[in-house]
């Protein structure tokens, strides 16, 4: 009898693999004999081994469970024979006689298959957003600091970013290894890279918008964006690292609410702290980037006049504690 496993990959293709050695470990971890890419499966979800009579028995690890055929009742242990099919999410597991192995469906060409090579490629691909972030950061500095100090600016800033990223991965690697005995580098890379990329894009767009149109929103927007992005990254990385937690919608929703509230509070505090800071922007961008029309001088002077009452009102504000 041969042990077979079938799963529907994320791309919707059927993956079919056969194995004859036991014990066989099945789960999402690369350390397993059958690696499945299904969020319903735990790192090492179950182990198939022969009992004293030589029957193959599937035993769920830890708090996990699985299903048999179309039953709705989860089980933690079951004997596998040619008639039963075990289920974990989209994954099906069964036995068939050796003579029937040749008749089992073959995997589609190009179908998902988790191999060591695929993992390396995945990591390389996952690095792309991160590399794009470095490039974006350099572009940001290049556009607005192109003078004698350019290299110092870019290198110093990239070095800072690199140091931060390395530290960030170091911490998550340690947590991941402590919890799962694996780092899950690819997913962390994609998450952090994407978050940095989004942050960098928002930053560049705000700078261009401000220097071209005078809409100085960077100081107002970034204090909210930065904590939100960092919070989101932490939230996703928690999902990646803590499997049990990631299957609890209430917990994850509460954590996301915490991120939203936290970034709102952090942003508001930062905004209030710098509310009287000046726009740090290029005064006039090249004409092709100028988005808003100029207003006549007399209108400018009217707006200048109108500001008097706003400034007068500041006299009534209490003196900040730091100045007392």
């Amino acid at each position: 009898m041969k042990l077979w496993i079938e799963e529907i990959s994320r791309a919707g293709q059927t993956v079919f693999r056969v194995k004859e050695n036991v014990p066989t470990r099945i789960g999402r971890s690369y350390a397993c004999d059958f690696v499945v890419d299904d969020d319903a499966a735990d790192l090492t979800h179950l182990i198939v081994d022969a009992d004293e009579q030589g029957n193959l028995v599937a035993v769920a690890t830890g708090q996990n469970h699985f299903w048999i055929d179309d039953d709705k009742i989860p089980v933690r242990q079951a004997e596998i024979d040619g008639k039963r099919v075990l289920r974990i999410g989209q994954v099906r597991l069964g036995l068939c006689p050796e003579t029937e192995v040749a008749g089992l469906p073959r995997p589609d060409r190009g179908s998902f298959a988790v191999t060591r090579r695929a993992k390396a490629t995945g990591i390389m691909l996952a690095l792309l957003p991160l590399l794009a972030t470095f490039a974006l950061n350099a572009l940001d500095k290049y556009l607005f600091q192109r003078d004698g100090a350019f290299f110092n600016e870019v290198l110093a800033s990239t070095f800072w970013l690199g140091t931060f990223v390395v530290t960030w991965f170091g911490v998550w690697s340690l947590i991941g290894y402590a919890v799962n005995r694996e780092v899950r580098l690819r997913r962390h890379l994609v998450t952090v890279g994407s978050v940095f990329l989004v942050g960098g894009l928002i930053d560049v767009v705000l700078i261009l918008l401000a220097s071209s149109s005078g809409m100085d929103m960077k100081a107002q927007v970034m204090p909210f964006v930065i904590p939100f992005l960092i919070g989101s990254a932490v939230w996703i990385q928690m999902r990646i690292t803590f499997d049990k937690l990631s299957h609890k919608p209430l917990v994850m929703a509460s954590l996301m609410a915490l991120v939203l509230v936290g970034s709102g509070v952090c942003g508001a505090m930062e905004y209030l702290r710098h509310v009287d800071s000046k726009p740090d922007l290029a005064p006039l961008a090249p004409s092709f980037l100028r988005l808003v029309p100029a207003i006549p001088r007399d209108q400018v002077m009217q707006q200048f006049q109108r500001m008097e009452s706003t400034v007068d009102a500041t006299r009534l504000e209490s003196i900040p504690e730091r100045l007392r």
Partner: protein, 407 residues
């Protein structure tokens, strides 16, 4: 001899925290009448005026008499204050220094020896020698240029001639310069004393109102002078900018251009400063005016880049626009708009204005106004105007005139 005659009339005046015998600052003062009333500088006593719950004004006479004083009158514009001891001085302990009248005021030629007495750095009463070097040239305030050493702590002390006649009051010195100091002419002391000699100590709130009124009058006078004549116009690259104002401004020029190593972005600037300032509240100069025009130009065609030009101009545009951070100033508020300048109506311009209100003076503000304009892709002009202690109307007038003068 002169020192021993004058010294008994000169006191050390200290601003000290209530309940503490240690001074937070110290200056000098001198007795001008038999009641022991004394003249000092306004900047010696202004901490007390704005924070009487926290500070006391304490004096110490050379014979050891000590006590506290009340503030009687102030002349912010000339940096003078009149104070009165709360308990009378011992009879005969101090000989008042006679105040000059227009008739009795000493007529001095440049080079006339002068002697300044005070308490430098709280080290004890000393006398320094120097000479009269005329009135300060082109100054709005009309101070005496004293070629002698004045040090912190001597502020408020008397300066006399060889016959012991009061010539002025020690007020300031130029930092990092050798013996360039200033005195408030004695006639201002006479005027202040005569106006206040019958007064009782007023409430400090009333005195603060008086300070505000004096500052308003001063800034109004500055505005009147600034707009009395058409502004002169000067070329800066292919832009025209306002030059000297009212004859009281000091202007200088600066550039980073170098023949040996041409910069990628060249700066040429003209900086002008109105030669006047008072200090109505601690750590804050007021009724001052300065402006700066900077031409930012790309150094070489190979380096031509619009972003670089905008980036280089950015620091000149918003740099040093920081707000004053103390308990006397409210927070700063800024706004920025795009507009058009000049008769051509084709030069885009960005204007940024920041205003900060004085908490103690209801209608006075500090303003910082920056204007950036660009005729072509190779150069950009940044103009900055700084007004301290002006009314909103005055700032409006200055800003409008500035915008209209840049071409």
């Amino acid at each position: 001899m002169l020192f021993s005659e004058i010294r008994p009339s000169v006191a050390i005046l200290r601003t000290q925290l209530k309940g503490s015998s240690h001074p937070s600052s110290s200056g000098s003062a001198f007795v001008v009448d038999g009641r022991g009333w004394m003249i000092t500088n306004f900047h010696v006593v202004n901490s007390y005026l704005y924070d009487p719950e926290r500070y006391d004004l304490a004096f110490e006479m050379p014979d050891g008499q000590e006590g506290t004083v009340d503030l009687i009158a102030v002349d912010v514009l000339n940096d003078l204050a009149l104070v009165a001891p709360r308990s009378p001085l011992r009879a005969g302990s101090a000989h008042p220094i006679a105040l000059p009248t227009p008739e009795s005021a000493p007529r001095m030629a440049r080079g006339t020896p002068l002697f300044s007495i005070g308490n430098p750095l709280d080290l004890g009463m000393t006398i320094t020698t120097g000479s009269f070097s005329g009135m300060v040239q082109g100054s709005f305030d009309g101070q005496i240029h004293f070629s002698g050493a004045l040090n912190p702590g001597m502020s408020g002390g008397p300066a006399v001639d060889e016959r012991g006649r009061l010539v002025g009051v020690n007020v300031a010195h130029v930092r990092d310069a050798q013996s360039v100091s200033f005195l408030v002419p004695a006639m201002h002391v006479t005027r202040l004393y005569r106006a206040a000699r019958q007064s009782q100590p007023p409430r400090l709130a009333a005195l603060r109102g008086e300070v505000a009124q004096q500052l308003r009058a001063r800034q109004a006078e500055l505005v009147r002078l600034a707009f009395a004549e058409d502004w002169s116009s000067e070329n800066l690259g292919n832009y025209r900018v306002p030059g000297f104002l009212a004859g009281y401004t000091d202007c200088g020029a600066d550039s980073n251009a170098s023949a040996s190593a041409p910069p990628r972005v060249e700066f040429r600037s003209m900086n002008c400063l109105l030669k006047t300032a008072s200090m109505p509240v601690p750590d804050e100069s007021s009724s001052s005016l300065s402006y700066q025009h900077t031409l930012v130009r790309l150094g070489s065609p190979a380096a031509a880049n619009s972003f670089r030009l905008a980036s280089a101009a950015s620091n000149r545009f918003t740099g040093n626009m920081s707000a004053v951070q103390n308990t006397h100033m409210a927070r700063q508020i800024c706004q920025s708009r795009f507009t058009q300048l000049g008769p051509k109506q084709q030069s885009p311009a960005r204007i940024l204005w920041c205003a900060q209100a004085y908490r103690d003076f209801p209608d006075l503000y500090d303003f910082q106004i920056a204007v950036a304009t660009q005729h072509d892709g190779q150069s950009l002009l940044v103009s900055r105007l700084t007004l301290s202690g002006f009314t909103w109307g005055s700032a409006h007038e200055f800003t409008e005139r500035l915008l209209g003068s840049i071409q």
